[in-house]
Amino acid sequence: MDMALPVVNATSAVLARVSAAFNAPLARAVVFGVHIDGHLVVEGLLIAVIVFQLTRKSYKPPKKPLTEKEIDELCDDWKPEPLCPPIKEGARIDTPMLESAAGPHTIVDGKEVVNFASANYLGLIGNEKIIDSCVGSLEKYGVGSCGPRGFYGTIDVHLDCEAKIAKFLGTPDSILYSYGISTIFSVIPAFCKKGDIIVADEGVHWAVQNGLHLSRSTVVYFKHNDMASLASTLEKLTRGNKRAEKIRRYIVVESIYQNSGQIAPLDEIVRLKEKYRFRVILEESHSFGVLGKSGRGLAEHYGVPIEKIDIITAGMGNALATDGGFCTGSVRVVDHQRLSSSGYVFSASLPPYLASAAISAVNYLEENPSILSNLRSNIALLHKELSDTPGLEISSHALSPIVFLKLKKSAGSPTADLDLLETIAERVLKEDSVFIVTSKKSNLDRCKLPIGIRLFVSAGHTESDISTLSKSLKRVSASVLSDYF
């Protein structure tokens, strides 16, 4: 307290002197009616300093573009990867060579085998009527159609084929594509654009995945063939989303999944689609001509009226024993594709003889519905005989013509599984002359479902074929898999 008082006195003395200096008029000048006081000098100096700082440029490191010499050096240094990886040792590349038609019995590498590797579901390969119509077509039209549909590539058999398929299915119109897998990856980008929402099954095959990627829409996958997962995904996407009415929404499913042999429950899907206002795109490559009382596909099988499914696509390379694909739906759907589907507009049209083969195949199916019951009894027999195969179990639906066998216990990694299955297939072919195949995957395919052995059942197989297959498979898998387990 004693020390504080002189400090306070000194401070107040200094303050008094400073305020006197500030308040004393300076030079006794009056500028514009304002007295020039001492504090104005200090304020003026401060403002000058601030203005000076603001006018300085901020520091940026100078940007120098690359000189030509530097670009040359960079180009010389750059080393690209090789265009393809080197050939791996022991990689399997040889596929069996067929020397006759791929019917239920065929000749592979010189000997006659029972063929379970061709998707010839109705046994139409080698059918006399179809071959006769093709011969007539070849003599009249030649082989190729030499142009896209817009430029004189539309031949009257194409129009007849489109009308026939539309009449068979009960839809207003249909459109033909020249290749099976290009159908779905042209249809999806024609209708789904950026900003649309697509809900797709995670087990769809590569062509559907490519179509979804090319469409640039938002894609959400749900668990394979799981309706509860689909319902919850649809609920999540539409809850509280007011803008959902302006965006187009689609559900993409396959009728029979070729990666697993499951069948999509169409009645449940249609119920969900109507509740949440989505449109359905159904890929029917393996069920057209197979499911349903007269072979009209999944809609007939479940008793769903065909108008409720917005877009149906299918490849004709399976039950109809020809090539190409078609898409069908309402008139608006089909007409839109004629100008905006890239696989239709920018590609040559289907060769005319394949279109006449398709017409004859559909005619044959309409006249002989008994082949469907042959196919069904063959599938049921195969299921019964293979139910007790050691080490392998059937994981496909009971009505699917693709019978999918997978390993009961995995060997550790997908490559090891594939090795085991390929060994089984090779030994079955070599020792018992039965031709079976494993499911093969490209590294561009993002489907994660397990691989297995795929058996394609045909209406042309006899009971003895099926028993040969089952005996052989049981024997070989017992010996191969017992070494491992």
Partner: protein, 490 residues
């Protein structure tokens, strides 16, 4: 190169402006009328096609719909039967009749004349059909690999001059599935600005970055390459994993050849890979029909990947890729169209085998050499006569594709309908296949056209051209060979 005079550009823009204005007016009235109609049961669904997306289709294209998608009732040979159609409601819906008219075919891609039944090919095709049936019903890696497929792959590799080849069932799918198998994220694709839609789709589907260089402009290609290698990937500036340059042999809308030797030398200098799409040029140009490499004297070993289709010159369907053994081995393991798509139909394979044998002369006759000489002679004759008549014709010599410029949207249907009335089937192309102002008619010459056919075609084109007013260049008076004089030469 297209030289668009200012007056033509102005009139074309004015015509399109008028069409758009009328289209919008009609849309406006349609909206008013529709809002009074009761709503259908699709009321909560977003429309499958928003109004502005198909405006061009509804208001412009539908008016001239009868010029496109004309059906025929015969093989796409030199003369075809075009089915007559009629419409009762101003071209909104078109109906078929059972009447046909015989027309000269100047539109199909039938360069060597294999389109119709051929004396060597057709018996063999029918034999293979009876042996292997119309389809194998399975993918190539499963049960779709027949003796014919292996024979054709070896034959194609030998024909093109590469060690190995792979076969696919559709030309469009070849490009869209092979490009993703060769390059992925982290790579760069540099493609010509006028490349075909299948290449664009393949490039987009691969996930690699895409840059475009101006059509046939080698200096610009070099500039783009230098800039991209120096800068690296966008934002991270990491170096690109690989660069592929994609060009076509003959560009189908221009009729021009690509400058292949210069492209190869630039790519070699900067270590980029080249991909050549010979859809229109294989079999049609070159002394022995081996495509643009044959014509321009380029060694096939310098091009990394050669792609082609069988639709145009061989009268069949499908596509192929020819490259080194390692690349083909890699593609057979990874290409989705090889693993997931039905293998090519055996009769179509046999047609290609027979056609290549005829071209190479291995069938014992010289029909192949005669066809190649015929198409070269036909193309050069037709092109020079059209130019003399005053048409604006694009394309290089020796190329069988000849676009004739129309420009104005009203001339598109008038030219096409007038030609059809005089029994010539011509093809007209407009937006979106070409730029908006540059619509054209495209002529494709075939080896099966005889000299009389070409003279008749010239006569009809001249008459239709006079009526439509598309002879933009002055007629060469001194060198004009009138139609009568041409007939006398015959």
């Amino acid at each position: 190169m297209v030289r668009l005079p200012y007056s033509t550009a102005l009139t074309t823009l004015f015509s399109y402006g008028l069409l758009f204005a009328f289209g919008h007016l009609r849309d406006f009235f349609r909206r008013i009328i529709d809002s009074r109609k009761p709503t259908t049961n699709l009321k909560d669904y977003a429309p499958i096609c928003l109004g502005h997306e198909d405006f061009y289709t509804r208001r412009l294209f539908n008016r001239v719909q009868d010029c496109c998608n004309r059906p025929i009732a015969s093989a796409p040979d030199a003369w075809i039967d075009v089915i007559e159609r009629y419409s009762n409601d101003g071209n909104k819906t078109i109906h078929r009749t059972s009447k046909t008219s015989r027309c000269l075919n100047l539109g199909s891609y039938n360069y060597l004349g294999f389109a119709a039944a051929d004396e060597y090919c057709t018996p063999r095709v029918i034999e293979s059909l009876k042996k292997y049936s119309a389809s194998t019903c399975s993918v190539r890696v499963d049960g779709g690999n027949t003796k014919l497929h292996i024979e054709l792959e070896e034959l194609v590799a030998r024909f093109v001059g590469k060690p190995a080849a792979i076969l696919l069932g559709m030309g469009y799918a070849t490009n869209s599935t092979i490009i993703p198998a060769l390059i992925g994220k982290g790579g760069l694709i540099i493609s010509d600005s006028l490349n075909h839609n299948s290449i664009v789709n393949g490039a987009r589907g691969s996930g690699a970055a895409v840059r475009v260089f101006q059509h046939n402009n080698i200096a610009h290609l070099e500039e783009v390459l230098r800039e991209q290698i120096a800068q690296g990937q966008p934002r991270t500036h990491r170096p690109w994993s690989k660069i592929i340059v994609i060009v076509e042999g003959i560009y189908s809308m221009e009729g021009e050849l690509c400058k292949l030797p210069e492209v190869i030398s630039v790519c070699k200098k900067y270590k980029a890979y080249t991909y050549l799409d010979e859809a229109h040029s294989i079999g049609a140009i070159g002394k022995s029909g081996r495509g643009v490499c044959d014509l321009l004297g380029v060694d096939p070993a310098d091009v990394d990947i050669m792609m082609g289709t069988f639709t145009k010159s061989f009268g069949s369907c499908g596509g192929y890729i020819a490259a080194s053994k390692e690349i083909i081995h890699h593609l057979k393991q990874t290409c989705p169209a090889h693993i997931y798509a039905t293998s090519m139909s055996p009769p179509a394979v046999q047609q290609v085998i027979s056609a290549i044998k005829v071209i190479l002369g291995e069938d014992g006759t010289n029909r192949g050499a005669k066809k190649l000489a015929q198409i070269r002679e036909n193309s050069n004759f037709f092109r020079s006569e059209l130019k003399k008549m005053g048409f604006e014709v694009l394309g290089d010599n020796n190329s069988p594709v000849m676009p004739i410029m129309l420009y104005n949207p009203a001339k598109i249907p008038s030219f096409s309908r007038e030609c059809l009335r005089l029994n010539v089937a011509a093809v007209v192309v407009a937006f979106p296949a070409t730029p908006l102002l540059l619509s054209r008619a495209r002529i494709c010459i075939s080896a099966s056209h005889s000299r009389e056919d070409l003279i008749k075609g010239l006569e009809v084109l001249s008459k239709a051209g006079d009526i439509s007013g598309i002879k933009y260049f002055p007629v060469e008076q001194e060198k004009t060979t009138s139609v009568e004089k041409l007939k006398k030469i015959q």
